[in-house]
Symmetry: C2
Subunit: 235 residues, 2 copies
């Protein structure tokens, strides 16, 4: 049974890295002494080593050790043997390219389907969707495919922002972009605001945090989803 936390963002404005999630993470990873960290999304180009150090500092607060997947010779085996797994945010194109390069997309999917507890933030949550096609990131590298883990039957749009009716900027709003996605793809997209996360446990998908989410489906009017909602109806 899948056991996932998929957060829109790692940090809220003005708070420490992962701080707002630590009470949840303490429960989520309660059976883990060490978790495996996948640093491949490399926000601002930070190295795998530096990113892993930053994550280790945050997890030290709840007495969990962190090892980076780049420290292992066999990354597939590292995933299969992990007590828990965390994929951090950054650039989704870079993350997906590296997962394919390491040939671990399928291993990660199968391992998480068996129940290894997982945390994703931002790009690390994007990859739990069917594809990475609703990322906000720049295509700074070319991955061999946009297909991702498919651990949930829809896509996420993280760091979701409602359209600002006062904006005079002529670039596309988030909503316009997702509507364009639905001209060519028929699966749903959940806009997940910063401070929200999905908890996938015991066959249920629950929207956590204090904010509503926005659900976009092809040829349907988008709807708001209240915090605490069960989302298994999204297909």
């Amino acid at each position: 049974m899948k056991n996932l936390l998929l957060a829109s963002t790692s940090s809220l404005y003005g708070t420490d890295y992962l701080e707002y999630l630590l009470p949840e993470l303490k429960l989520h990873f309660k059976n883990c002494k060490t978790i495996l960290f996948i640093p491949y999304a490399r926000p601002s180009g930070i190295s795998h080593e530096e990113y892993t150090k930053k994550v280790a500092l945050a997890f030290a607060k709840i007495n969990i050790a962190v090892k980076g997947i780049h420290e292992y010779k066999n990354p597939a085996l590292a995933i299969q043997n992990a007590e828990g797994i965390f994929t951090g945010g950054g650039n989704t194109f870079l993350l997906v390219k590296q997962l394919y390069h390491d040939k671990i997309m399928t291993t990660l999917k199968e391992t998480l389907e068996k129940g290894t507890p997982y945390l994703g933030t931002s790009a690390g949550s994007n990859i739990a969707g069917l594809t990475m096609q609703t990322t906000n990131d720049m295509p700074i590298v070319y991955p061999p495919s946009f297909q991702t883990l498919g651990l949930i039957p829809f896509n996420l749009n993280v760091h979701f922002l409602d359209t600002d009716p006062q904006s005079t900027h002529m670039g596309e709003s988030r909503e316009t972009r997702i509507n364009e996605f639905h001209q060519f793809n028929n699966f749903p997209v959940l806009g997940l605001k910063e401070g929200s996360w999905l908890e996938i446990k015991e066959g249920k998908i629950i929207l956590k945090g204090n904010l509503s989410a926005k659900l976009f489906r092809q040829n349907r009017i988008p709807i708001g989803v209240a915090p605490g909602s069960e989302l298994s109806f999204i297909k």
Copy 2:
């Protein structure tokens, strides 16, 4: 000799489609009775026919007729025979995929290098760069390559926005994204604000409009570029 206008946006807030550019376009396309329109970027999923109608309405104001490339059996021949060419905005992934599908990326490049007057707006300007990797668009379809026309020796970031120091949003700023691009790519990126365009004529690249642009280069501090500047120093 290349003869290009590359605009950040087709429209300014509160004005009609292409309105702010019409005086320029009248000069730029002065020898054209008809121009060829490439509608492939399809903003909000608009059809090729509807998009071409919209463009024809704008160009009618300066007595230029518009034909869509989708109306031709042989799109390569349509490009080679065009008096002038305009590629409109929308989704850059979609535009690039369709240009590769039609096998016209090279034809378009060669034709524009010979001097056929060209207008690009937004996605239509992105493709003039070396690659489409600094687009702001969502990867709603998977193109076979991110390489584009390379008519200028750098990339563009259109609809460019300076970082808002007041923002509490934790998604990456435009500047952060471009810096991430430069972790993996070494060519320059010009952030082109709405209302700015590049004029490439007689071997010169001039920044037009009333606003400054921002130049990002690998391992260098970004610099502002004043309107009217000649940009051939960017390599």
